[in-house]
Amino acid sequence: MKQVIETKGLIKFFDGIHAVDNLSLSIEEGKITGIVGPNGSGKTTLINILSGFYNYDKGEIFFSGAKRKKILPWENKIYGTGRTFQQIRLFNQMKVIDNILVVLTERNPFFALFERHGEYHIKCAEDVLKKVGLYEKRGSYAKDLSYGQQKLLEIGRILAIKADIIFLDEPFAGLFPEMIKRIENIIRELKNENKTVILVEHNMNIIRELCDHLIVMDAGKLLAEGRPEKVLSERAVLEAYLGE
C-alpha cells in the first residue's frame, strides 16, 4: 500500500496552544480517510498545514515519500492537492462558471495574458457543473447561490483540477439530506477513480458509511486510528466525545 502523505511528530502552535501536537500519521492512496475529533482538536489546522495555508513549526511531512520542508500553496498544482474550506471561500463576485474556469486555465501570468478560455475549457467546466448539479446556475454569481450550492461549487472546483489528493473540511455541515446524498456519491466516485480523499466530518453515520480508515484527533494529538467500526467503539474515543 502506498502512503501518499506521512507526517512525523508534526507540531503547530498558535500563541501558546498546540493546535497540532506531535502528530504522526499516514494516509493511504486511493482510500477515504476520515478525521474526527471534538471542536478545536486541530483537524482544520492539519488540513491548512498540508495544503500550504499555514506553515508548521516542527516535525516532518512526506508526500509520496519525498520530504517537504515547506509546503507552498502554489505547489498544490504540482502535487495534485486540492481542498475545500470549512468556511466557504469562493470567488463571490464572479460567475459560477468563472469560478470553475479560473482553476482550469493557464497559471503562468505571461501565457495567461495571451490565453482566452476556449471550447475545451467551457466543456470541462460545464461537465463539472453538471456533475455537482449547478449547470443551470452557471451564469449566476457565486454569492447568489444558496449555502448548499456554494458547498457544491467548492467541490466542483476540486473536481475541475482533477486533484489526486483531496481534503474535504466538513463538506456535509449544514446540508439537507438530498445534498448530502449527492456529495456522498461524488466522494464514492472519486474513490473509484483511485483518488485519495481526506474527509473531516462530525456525523458518525457518514463516517461509517464512507471511510476506509479513521483517524481520531484530540487536542492536536492522535487519539486512535483504524477501521471506523472498530475505532468508534473504543473507550478512549467515546470518552473524548462524551467528555466534551
Binding site: G52, W74, L90, F91, V102, R107, Y141
Partner: protein, 288 residues
C-alpha cells in the same frame, strides 16, 4: 470649436487614467492612490526628454511606459507584503515622495516652477499645434489603451485578477503565484497611466508639481466608482461625466475661480451620493 476639441482631449487623457486605475483597483482589487504619481512620471519624462534632451514626444511615448514600468516593478515588489489599507497607505507614501522630488530636485524637474516650453508632438511631417490636430493623437492613444484593457479583461489573466480581488488566499491554493499577477497588473496600470502624462505634458507644453497631487488620484477613484468598479466602459463613462459636469458649470455662468472650487465640491458630493444610493456605480456589478 477648439473648445470642444480641448474637452475631448482632456476626456481622452482621463479616460486613459481611469482605465488604468480600473485595471489595478477595479479588476485586481489593489487599493492604489499612486495613480497621479505615474501620470506625473509620464509627464516629467516627456518634459525632460523634450526640453533637456531635445527629443521628439513620440520617443517619450515609448520611453515613459518603460521607465514607469521599472519604477512600478520596484515599488510593487517592495509593497508585496501589504494588503488593502496598508497598500493604500504605502502608495500614498510613494505619491508624497514623488511630489517632494518633483518640487525639490530643481535641476531635473524645474522645482515648483516646473518645466515650460515642452514641444508639441511632431509626426508624419506635421506638428500637432492645435487641439483639432492633437485630438487625433489623444484618441489614438486612448484607443490603444482601451484595446489593451479589453484584451486583458477577456483573457485568462484577467479572470485570475478578478479572483485575486475576491480571495487571493483561496486562489493560491489552486496553483497561482498571486504576487506575480498583482505585480504585473500594478506595472501594466502604471505604464498605461504614464502615457496620459506624456500626452498631457505635450498638449499643455507646461507642467509643474501641483498638477499631479493626491487630488488627481482621488478624481480617478471617483471616476471608476461613478462608472462602476471593474468595468472598462464604466471607467470611460466616469471619466467623461466627471470632466463634462464641472465644465458645464462655466456655461451656467460661474467664474473660473469659483468653478474650480465647485469642481472639488461636486466630486465630493458625487462620491457621497454614490456611496449612499448606488455603491456599484452606473455600470457596476461589483463592490470593492
Amino acid at each position: 470649436m477648439d473648445y470642444i476639441f480641448h474637452i475631448a482631449i482632456i476626456v481622452s487623457i482621463y479616460g486613459i487614467l481611469a482605465l488604468a486605475q480600473n485595471l489595478v483597483m477595479g479588476e485586481t482589487g489593489l487599493l492604489t492612490i499612486a495613480g497621479a504619481a505615474f501620470y506625473g512620471i509620464g509627464a516629467y519624462v516627456a518634459g525632460i526628454f523634450s526640453t533637456s534632451l531635445g527629443l521628439n514626444i513620440t520617443i517619450a511615448l515609448v520611453a515613459a511606459p518603460l521607465i514607469t514600468a521599472v519604477i512600478a516593478m520596484i515599488l510593487g515588489t517592495s509593497f508585496a507584503r501589504f494588503r488593502d489599507d496598508y497598500f493604500l497607505l504605502a502608495t500614498l507614501g510613494f505619491l508624497m515622495i514623488f511630489n517632494t522630488v518633483a518640487k525639490n530636485w530643481t535641476s531635473l524637474t524645474g522645482g515648483s516652477l516646473g518645466i515650460a516650453g515642452i514641444s508639441k508632438p511632431h509626426m508624419f511631417g506635421i506638428t500637432l499645434l492645435t487641439p483639432e490636430s492633437f485630438i487625433w493623437l489623444a484618441v489614438f492613444v486612448l484607443l490603444i489603451v482601451a484595446i489593451i484593457c479589453y484584451f486583458i479583461s477577456r483573457s485568462s489573466f484577467g479572470r485570475a485578477l478578478n479572483a485575486i480581488r475576491e480571495d487571493e488566499e483561496a486562489l493560491k491554493i489552486f496553483g497561482y503565484k498571486v504576487s506575480t499577477y498583482k505585480l504585473a497588473s500594478f506595472t501594466i496600470g502604471a505604464s498605461l497611466s504614464s502615457l496620459a502624462g506624456v500626452l498631457f505634458a505635450s498638449y499643455l507644453t507646461f507642467i509643474d508639481p501641483t498638477l499631479f497631487t493626491v487630488n488627481e488620484s482621488i478624481l480617478l477613484w471617483a471616476m471608476i466608482i461613478l462608472g462602476g468598479i471593474a468595468t472598462n466602459r464604466g471607467a470611460l463613462m466616469g471619466a467623461l461625466l466627471l470632466i463634462l459636469i464641472p465644465e458645464s458649470l462655466r456655461f451656467i455662468g460661474f467664474p473660473d475661480e469659483i468653478s474650480g472650487l465647485m469642481r472639488q465640491c461636486i466630486y465630493g458630493l458625487i462620491l457621497i451620493f454614490l456611496m449612499l444610493y448606488r455603491p456599484k456605480g452606473i455600470f457596476g456589478k461589483y463592490n470593492l
